[in-house]
Point group: C2
Chain length 458, copies 2
């Protein structure tokens, strides 16, 4: 595949002459109706396409452009090296050429050690070394080399552009779109886990209270809790997709300088969250009997934290998927933060009553503690998605009342304030403070003016 | 690089004729002293080496063998397809050939979708498609094709064997050895973290008790705690190394069928442990004031759990590195398990005293709980390393007293038993039970016979 140019019919270079010699050989090949139309160079075009054509547009572009530029540079430098070497006489020429090939090959091999260069230009550097060695050591005269280089370059440009045009216009698979989908679906997997976790953990607990779980049933239920595991090792896929996405032109709702790096940040935060979920997952099968008073105190609020975090992640994922403003997630994030605060309060108040055994409450306490961590992690993800929304100019929705608002108004309203049990000995008084916070995304009271205007603070 | 064979001097095939035509062209190239010795094919050998030669022996072997076998198969099938097509007359030939090329190219492209095949034979399949298309569509007669195929194959075998011989005998870099080192060094990174964690976490706590931590100092101290992060994303490196290691012949202490898969299992468990450490790491900077009574109760035993787990991992890592029997880790694993039991007991006893606030003890309780998980994870790693040791026949050490035994005998002796605080109201009695367990690897009493013989239970 390195001598595609050699097969061009109108070629004047040495390879072309060789091919015309070949064609002129008497009786070596019978006339073939298939090839007379296309010419022998058809096969080389096919081979170039096999090497350059890849799954995503970005990868095809990356390989095609790498190959073209590397060939251009290698041909130019090769001819230059040849000319330079020919100045030093017949005896000196091989020595000068040898030194030049060694220096350039060593330098370009060395650049492959840099991870950033390797990620983007590895194929180009390989082609550069190959072509440069071939051009400069081939032993032809400079004039022939110029012709040969011209032929090489033009064939590669033809092959490369066919690949690029087909990959862009015939059923394109955009690496950028894939990255967008991958990040969103990873967040959805975490959300599915978090939404299921509360029910699963406390359901098991209730079952074990009712006389022992049925192992088989609870295990078959758990299958939907395994989805998050693929998020743990998603780093390499995300990085390579982001790498290819950078090569892609503007397409659909993705502009040329789309903030692909921000997707990597969001992906890293999602992995952080997945690590915490992995730690959480260890407690799902635990059989330790938790005192019912303690369990009762934290159960509701833990389930709520888990569910609201899951809802927030779902809303953020759908915002990324539809590339719309992620403000609908704010309510869930706020709600989960409030639940975390409620949990802290519940734990403070729990201590006074008749808990006898820290060892027994340890698993539930740990679950609660990890859930608090997850809530703060989801908050960070939310911030990162908002930043992405700003950087990529996601389309803003009108801050009208969304369908969600109708279904959950009292629920969100409740969490504008905090519930403070007052712990003064025997009396179980509770102080409920309602803060009319302005940064809450839905303001249900139609008479109270929203000071921030139509769009909530993001 | 696809037509190396064409340049062989004694070649009879069409490419060779082309080259001899080229060489015969009057005055197109001056005589060059450099090339007269090696012949023009020298450059093609260089190019083959550039494509096949890779960093590790396994990768070079994989590429070289893939290339050779794929070329052989493609040439054989290509000639066969050509012969089959020629039977169907001049008009039918291109149609039959087209169908055959389409079928074989589609089938081999489809096999690339299987992850296992892609990992091992991707390059071979690419070369197969290229060579098969070239041979069958080239338009030459069957007799010429046989010659051409023979030339192609022999050149590739020469280039491939040069690469393989050089990579094996000149400063070889074995993928298997690298995998062995990588798994061991990953475990060492986790060990470094665990050994440092106890000091770091409770040191911070003591500092904050003494009137606030100095942010700058504690941050600069934390750098050695970041090493474990590289373990989190080690999966792909490990898998590709294991994949290349399978191609390698027996070398050093690695036999031909070394259990590479078990390294992947150990690596997966080490990552599990790293995820838990990641969860643990979130608590290192926390500023919540833990009640000193509670802290005092768990501090010592937590530091011990963490240190002993770290020691166990270090011992296991050094066993993998030196490929020796990992029995020296058993003492540490036992000791860390005992510490975990002690912690459970300490927590059971802690509840009776004057703890007022579960919220305040939550971070420390979570750290303790995660440390218990880490201890059980380290135990699993230890089991996996023992299995590796059995599968790979690591060299057995004589169960004499190792240097470690001299430095830490009382420490290990102490954990043959358990310390049971008796919780009957006011009296703080403690029952110390010493179980003369036989599965403890070091038996310090020279008079008591070890019933298991020289080697401890593994």
């Amino acid at each position: 595949m390195e001598i595609e140019s050699a097969t061009q019919r109108k070629a004047v270079g040495p390879f072309a002459s060789a091919w015309s010699c070949l064609k002129a050989l008497p009786d070596r090949s019978k006339p073939k109706p298939l090839y007379d139309g296309f010419g022998v160079s058809g096969i080389w075009a096919v081979l170039t396409v096999v090497v350059v054509f890849e799954f995503t547009v970005g990868q095809t572009l990356s390989r095609g452009l790498n190959r073209s530029f590397a060939t251009f540079l290698a041909c130019a430098l090769g001819v230059g090296a040849k000319h330079l070497a020919s100045l030093s006489g017949e005896k000196g020429e091989p020595i000068v050429l040898g030194i030049l090939v060694f220096l350039l090959a060593a330098a370009s091999t060395f650049t492959r050690f840099f991870p950033k260069i390797k990620a983007r230009y590895d194929y180009g550097i390989l082609i550069f070394i190959l072509t440069f060695s071939m051009v400069s050591v081939s032993g032809f005269r400079v004039e022939d080399l110029l012709e040969m280089s011209y032929q090489r370059l033009s064939t590669i440009l033809i092959g490369g552009s066919i690949c690029i045009i087909v990959s862009i216009f015939v059923c394109p698979v955009w690496a950028g779109q894939d990255l967008n989908k991958l990040v969103a679906s990873n967040m959805e997997k975490l959300a599915t886990y978090l939404e299921g976790f509360g029910g699963e953990y406390f359901h098991n607990y209730s079952e074990s209270e009712e006389g022992g779980r049925v192992g088989g049933v609870s295990k078959s239920d758990k299958s939907f809790l395994q989805g998050y595991k693929s998020v743990l090792n998603s780093k390499n896929t995300e990085e390579s997709l982001a790498n290819f996405a950078r090569w892609e032109p503007a397409h659909g709702r993705f502009r040329l300088r789309h903030p692909w790096k921000q997707y990597l940040n969001i992906g890293a935060l999602a992995r952080q969250c997945a690590y915490k979920i992995e730690a959480l997952n260890a407690y799902i099968g635990s059989d330790i009997q938790v005192p019912p008073e303690f369990q009762g105190k934290i159960q509701e609020v833990c389930v709520k934290m888990s569910c609201e975090s899951g809802n927030a992640l779902k809303a953020l994922a759908s915002a990324i998927k539809t590339m719309s403003d992620p403000f609908s997630a704010n309510a869930y994030v706020e709600s989960s933060k409030n639940a975390a605060n409620d949990l802290k309060i519940a734990l403070e108040s729990a201590s006074l009553n008749n808990i006898v055994d820290i060892q027994a409450i340890l698993p539930s306490a740990t679950v609660a503690s990890i859930l608090i961590e997850i809530v703060s992690c989801v908050e960070k993800i939310s911030e990162a998605v908002h930043e992405l929304s700003n950087l990529a100019h996601f389309k803003k929705k009108e801050a009208t009342v969304t369908p969600d608002d109708h279904t959950k108004p009292p629920h969100n309203l409740l969490h504008r304030g905090s519930v403070n049990p007052v712990l003064d000995g025997e009396s179980n008084r509770v102080i409920i403070t309602i803060n009319q916070t302005t940064d809450s995304p839905e303001n249900e009271n139609p008479k109270a003016p929203n000071p921030v205007g139509q769009r909530p603070l993001v």
